[in-house]
């Protein structure tokens, strides 16, 4: 079937998807933004004003997903609006709602939890050595996924979205990609524990030497001992404790936790433990 929207229309859709989150509000979250995003496309699909009115009203309801998910869903939605008959319109919103959860999850695992930490930590290591390459590298790498990815999500959602949904209903491809992204993300996060969190203790234990009988003759540096058992042991230990605390609070009170760490570190520094 020939599709009605031109490249130009898809560009308009993409531009409006970009500004969707500005209207974020507590009643419909991105509902206003979504309606605004698809409105020009709807105008092209429905020459009749009454149809257009109904279509616009349909998309003012509650909506929320991840940015790249938004793009794919917006593309798919206009494709559905275009291809469905007058009696099939009730199916559009349930499909939209059904996708916003999984696609938000997919977008988060790919971008927020995997890509941003990877390019952020590589960029940060450059920047820490005083190189402007750090932020430039991060800006380019992050925005390739952010902007370019968003544009192609709109186009792909519109051109291939319906085909994709029909073909993959049983193979839960979204779930699989999310899980794979999580595996990559977790390995990166595991490596960051060792490379990013830097804790060492200047503590020393003096032991009485058995050989010479000298008191305090042998000084053992605690950090050296820990490094022999496991490098970055303290980093892993602290991360695990923080994880337990956050898990207990379901991710709330992050700022208080950070403040507590600051105060605790200052106290430990005062006593020469850190």
């Amino acid at each position: 079937m020939e599709q009605k929207l031109t490249k130009r229309d898809l560009w308009t859709l993409f531009m409006r998807v970009n500004t969707m989150r500005i209207t974020l509000n507590y009643e419909t979250l991105q509902g206003v933004g979504f309606m605004r995003a698809v409105a020009p496309a709807l105008e092209k699909i429905y020459p009749d004003k009454e149809d257009l009115r109904e279509a616009m009203l349909r998309h003012t309801v509650f909506y929320n997903s991840h940015v790249n998910g938004d793009a794919a869903i917006a593309g798919l939605t206009v494709a559905m609006e275009e291809s469905t008959g007058p009696n099939e319109k009730e199916g559009i919103n349930p499909l939209k709602t059904g996708l916003m959860g999984p696609l938000a999850g997919l977008g988060d695992s790919l971008v927020k939890f995997t890509w941003v930490p990877i390019v952020g930590s590589i960029g940060a290591s450059f920047a820490l050595s005083g190189s402007i390459v750090g932020p430039i590298f991060m800006f380019i790498m992050y925005n390739i996924v952010n902007m370019v990815g968003r544009y192609y999500a709109v186009v792909y959602g519109y051109k291939k979205g319906i085909e994709f949904l029909n073909g993959n209903q049983n193979s839960n491809i979204i779930q699989r990609i999310s899980t794979m992204a999580n595996v990559v993300g977790l390995m990166v996060v595991g490596s960051l524990i060792a490379s990013v969190i830097k804790i060492s203790t200047p503590l020393e234990i003096s032991v009485n030497s058995n050989v010479t009988g000298e008191v305090g003759g042998n000084v053992i540096a605690v950090q050296e001992m820990l490094d022999k058992i496991m490098p970055s042991f303290l980093s892993l230990f602290v991360t695990f404790i923080v994880y337990r605390i956050l898990k207990k609070n379901q991710g709330k009170h992050v700022a208080w936790l950070i403040l507590a760490i600051m105060i605790l570190t200052i106290i430990l520094k005062y006593f020469g433990i850190l």
């Binding site: 500004t19 500005i22 209207t23 974020l24 509000n25 009643e27 509902g31 206003v32 309606m35 605004r36 709807l42 004003k49 009115r53 616009m56 009203l57 998309h59 959860g101 988060d108 695992s109 941003v116 952020g120 930590s121 590589i122 960029g123 920047a127 190189s131 750090g134 932020p135 991060m138 800006f139 992050y142 902007m147 899980t179 999580n182 595996v183 990559v184 977790l186 390995m187 990166v188 996060v189 595991g190 490596s191 960051l192 524990i193 060792a194 990013v196 969190i197 804790i199 496991m230 970055s232 923080v242 956050l246 898990k247 991710g251 700022a255 950070i258 760490i261 570190t265 200052i266 520094k269």
Partner: protein, 262 residues
């Protein structure tokens, strides 16, 4: 003059954060502030530290995260403006300390805007009722200006009135406090990392990937890039293995158990 420039920067980055999202990370914001204030080195060091510190900070569930955009802007600017010949480490420590409270305060403004934005719904509804596509163009302008101001005004106030006070405060702090804050900046990333773990560990077996990544970096001293490449291979193999299982089980049940929390 520089204060005004940073305020304008805050206005546009504030709007960018809710739309195109080009600049929303500390590592991208802090160097810009550094350039405006003529201290790129400090901007880079602060940006890198805050980037790692706020890694994984994002909205978890319905909980709105601290506003790291305003936090980065204000803390970087104030730390550089009150540097006055202090060491790079002390400057970074100042920024880290300022970043947390400013991000927290600015977060409240964002909550306020989302509440005020509720009024947009009746406007949008009216436009839809009249099938007025042209009119929808204007929907974003009032909230965009509001969001920009929500970032620009606190930045202006903090820079205009805060810089002198911060400098006096930092000068009067004993060294162990500055050193402690500097060390804290290297421990706080644990929070961001733990938040990432919370979002990603949905099944018990996922722990082993975390352990593998840790071992590669700690014992084998591998950098992030090689770890990522190895991780891609492992992810592919894991997908192959779990796919086979699914064929055997023909599991219609949700393996994940945990739905994505919007």
């Amino acid at each position: 003059m520089t204060v005004l420039l940073i305020t304008i920067l805050a206005f546009f980055i504030g709007i960018d954060d809710v739309s195109t999202k080009l600049f929303r990370r500390p590592l991208l914001i802090a160097p810009l502030v550094g350039i405006i204030l003529g201290d790129l080195q400090a901007g880079l060091a602060i940006g890198a530290t805050l980037e790692i510190m706020w890694m994984g900070i994002g909205n978890v569930g319905a909980y709105m995260a601290p506003d790291i955009v305003t936090g980065s802007l204000i803390s970087t600017a104030l730390a550089i403006m009150s540097r006055n010949g202090a060491s790079l480490e002390a400057t970074v420590a100042t920024a880290v300390t300022l970043a947390v409270p400013t991000a927290l305060l600015a977060q409240q403004l964002l909550v306020l805007i989302e509440t005020v934005n509720v009024s947009l719904n009746s406007w949008a509804h009216r436009l839809a009722e009249n099938a007025d596509v042209k009119g929808t163009k204007w929907l974003i302008y009032p909230p965009a200006i509001m969001t920009g101001l929500a970032r620009a005004l606190p930045t202006f106030i903090a820079l205009q009135f805060g810089a002198g006070a911060i400098q006096t405060l930092v000068d009067s702090l004993p060294t162990f406090v500055i050193e402690g804050l500097s060390t804290a900046g290297k421990i706080i990333p644990a929070v961001g990392i733990a938040l990432l773990m919370m979002s990603m560990i949905k099944r018990v077996e996922m722990w082993m990937f975390l352990v593998l990544g840790f071992v590669l970096a700690s014992y084998l001293q591998l950098a992030v890039l090689p770890v990522t490449l190895i991780a891609l291979v492992i992810a592919y193999l894991y997908d192959l293995a779990t796919q086979k299982n699914e064929v055997v089980q023909v599991a219609a049940t949700d393996i994940d158990g945990e739905e994505y929390d919007l």
